[in-house]
């Protein structure tokens, strides 16, 4: 008979794998509004992982984290982004990725790299967590990749927020959650960052009349400017 704990651990692994999958979807999604929805799903999945870990490990304070994540990452931030996208008239914005094959291949390479990096952590008893740490590191790095390859400010913010999801996943599954103070602090920082991102969307559009961040290129090493 299978003991209940490994089953729940398996569920955690499956959910974490789906989080990684959503990262790939997010990376390649061309329609902005759909990308925001994918991000919301990712947040919901991370919240689900948290809830399962709470049930498996008997860590009641994680239920609170799950609710916090669900509220913040799956509802509030996607809603804010959605509203901003409508106010900035980006509902129908489609941005094709330059070199999509290459980018997805790079993401695959990052996943392999993550597994390689945590390989030395293989010890008895750490095998389960190693998987999760690798998956969450991959989510973080794919978020980073997304910020590099997407030129649109809102898409970059999505990359940033999905990095945060990866970090949260790492904290929850590898260590059964950070202390409450830290978790609240991080959530507060993320929320403030989101509000500031909103302010910046308007400032950027005001200054370059677009949200294509690649056009922000006035600041260079000034020696070249005058030659």
């Amino acid at each position: 008979m299978i003991a209940p704990l490994p089953l729940l651990q398996q569920l955690v692994l499956v959910l974490a794998a789906i989080v990684l999958l959503t990262s790939f979807v997010l990376l390649a999604q061309a329609r902005l509004i759909s990308a925001i929805h994918v991000f919301a799903w990712q947040g919901a999945l991370v919240a689900a992982v948290t809830a399962v870990v709470a049930a498996a490990g008997g860590a009641p304070h994680l239920y609170f984290s799950a609710v916090l994540t669900l509220g913040l990452k799956a509802l509030l931030i996607p809603w804010m982004l959605h509203r901003l996208a409508r106010r900035l008239e980006l509902d129908r914005h489609v941005e094709t990725l330059r070199l999509p094959t290459l980018v997805v291949m790079a993401a695959v390479a990052l996943v392999i790299f993550s597994y390689w990096l945590v390989l030395p952590m293989v010890q008895e008893g750490l095998a389960f967590t190693r998987n999760i740490v690798a998956v969450s590191l991959a989510v973080v790095l794919i978020g980073l990749l997304m910020m590099v390859f997407r030129q649109q400010a809102v898409a970059q913010v999505l990359g940033f927020m999905s990095m945060e999801n990866g970090l949260f996943l790492a904290a929850v599954s590898a260590t059964a959650g950070m202390p409450l103070v830290v978790e609240l602090g991080v959530a507060f920082d993320v929320l403030v960052a989101m509000v500031l991102f909103g302010v910046f969307f308007f400032q950027i559009r005001e200054s370059i009349e677009s949200l294509d961040v690649d056009r922000l290129n006035r600041l260079k090493e000034t020696a070249e400017e005058r030659e």
Binding site: V140, Q156, F160, L167, V186
Partner: protein
């Protein structure tokens, strides 16, 4: 304990009050008053630490190492507030920012101070992360305060780069916590630095070294280490000048402080393995590269504030290198360098603020003849740059000399690289400085009303530290050195 709480709470309350306060004239004075209260409390805190040893409570912990940075932070906050009151009023009168912008400025100034003081005094690595990220959030709106396309671009770059960097640092923090779970009897305290330090030997060395790489890249972005330094010159050159002064003088220190604390943990964990100095070597590598690259880039700058921000990268690189060498001599030198660099660099940015008001531009090519238009500004700039370049009577010379001797002791060949770097940086600064101070005066250039008190105080202190370091200060730094390295210098 009371002193510690007042030091922290004064800026937090100040930020809220200043956000609500409508009167601009009053806001400058309130800003000043809050900074004074905070400095007074920080002084009392330092006194109590000197008499009774470390102050612990409520998740905060102040020992000889961070108390000196707390006092330094509160002090530079006060002198910059003295400078910023008339300066920002002038900026507002010229229409570069709105009244709403001024309210944001004052509120965020104090919020920034609060996050930095919290980062310095907290004993929890998670709270440290939250506070450093908070410092980015507080300053990002200030960088874009003037709303020019350049300022918005600089702020976006700052936000994204530091956001990403600090996210990697959080991953490193999670890994540290993960290592603590398997090592400590009470895993709930796995982020409390003092507990971790006590049991550093039992932290898993492989996990800790991976964690340190992430932490180094993360906090290193904030220190301005090459190649993660890209945000720094932009943010410094486009933001308001008082902001440049506190960013350069204080924020970079706080990030470096975090790295040193983390290095102490990793060193403890790696002791007895095959590569016990991994963290130190990483710091030395990044520090040296930053130092040399920034020294070269100094030559190519056309914007005065950009130039001095590269000088900040150079000096942060030198300090990182010093902490990387380890050992009492290098650590003492790096601690002293932190102190004198902060004082000198904030004095430079304040002077540069006056110089740009005189010339009406930040372009080095158009700032000319300061010494004839307004001798006091010209002389201040000359003396301050002489100090930062490491001329003998000033404190920067002392600390650089200590760092050079330490390098000679530990890695003799690297002394050559350091001396070359210092010479290149010196040439870069002076080739731009000479025409700005002595060149022909452009027509119609008029003196501005300048408050020279902060500059005089800072440069006076740097001179004093160069001539004779007072005994109690030397012992203070020595106690900090002992905390970090485990042995005395003096």
């Amino acid at each position: 304990m009371t002193a510690l709480l007042v030091t922290l709470i004064a800026p937090a309350v100040g930020a809220v009050v200043l956000a609500l306060l409508r009167s601009l004239a009053l806001a400058g004075w309130v800003n000043l008053a809050v900074s004074t209260v905070s400095l007074g409390a920080a002084g009392a805190l330092a006194w109590s630490v000197a008499l009774h040893g470390e102050v612990v409570g409520l998740g905060l912990r102040v020992d000889d190492f961070n108390v000196y940075l707390v006092v330094l932070t509160a002090f530079v906050a006060l002198t910059t507030a003295i400078f910023s009151r008339p300066y920002m009023r002038h900026v507002c009168e010229r229409g570069m920012t709105s009244e709403g912008g001024m309210r944001v400025y004052h509120a965020m100034y104090q919020a920034f101070m609060f996050t930095m003081l919290l980062a310095l005094t907290t004993d929890n690595l998670g709270v440290l992360w939250v506070a450093v990220e908070g410092a980015t959030l507080a300053t990002v709106l200030l960088v874009s305060l003037y709303r020019t396309p350049e300022a918005v671009e600089a702020a976006w770059k700052y936000f994204i780069l530091c956001g990403v960097g600090i996210a990697l640092a959080l991953f490193g923090t999670v890994l540290t916590y993960f290592a603590a779970q398997h090592a400590m009897a009470d895993p709930a305290n796995g982020l409390t630095w003092s507990m971790l330090y006590r049991q550093a030997g039992s932290l898993h060395p492989v996990v800790m070294s991976i964690a340190f790489v992430f932490l180094l890249v993360g906090y290193g972005t904030k220190v301005g280490l090459v190649p993660m330094h890209q945000w720094l010159p932009d943010a410094h050159s486009e933001g308001p000048t008082p902001m440049s002064a506190v960013l350069s003088g204080l924020l970079l220190n706080v990030a470096l402080y975090a790295l040193v604390r983390l290095k102490m943990l990793v060193d403890g964990s790696l002791a007895g393995t095959q590569s016990p100095h991994l963290a130190g070597h990483l710091l030395m590598g990044f520090g040296l590269v930053s130092f040399l690259v920034a020294a070269l880039f100094l030559h190519r700058q056309r914007d005065i504030k950009r130039m001095f921000s590269y000088s900040s990268i150079e000096h942060m690189g030198l300090m990182t290198f010093g902490f990387g060498i380890g050992g009492p001599l290098a650590t003492f030198g790096a601690l002293l360098h932190m102190l004198v660099h902060s004082l000198t660099k904030s004095a430079i940015f304040v002077t540069v603020g006056h110089a740009t008001h005189i010339a009406g531009t930040q372009s080095i090519d158009h700032i000319r003849g300061l010494i004839r238009t307004q001798p006091v500004v010209g002389w201040s700039l000359l003396i301050a740059v002489a100090a930062i370049a490491g001329f003998p009577p000033f404190g920067v010379f002392t600390s650089e000399f200590l760092l050079l001797s330490a390098t000679m002791q530990a890695q003799p060949w690297l002394t050559l690289a350091l001396v070359t770097g210092l010479a290149v940086a010196f040439a870069g600064l002076f080739r731009h400085l000479q025409p700005m101070v002595y060149g022909g005066v452009p027509e119609g250039q008029k003196p501005v009303s300048a408050n020279m008190v902060p500059i005089a105080v800072h440069l006076g202190l740097v001179l004093w530290l160069g001539l004779a370091i007072p005994g109690y200060l030397a012992h203070w730094l020595d106690r900090a050195t002992q905390l970090i390295t485990g042995s005395h210098l003096l």
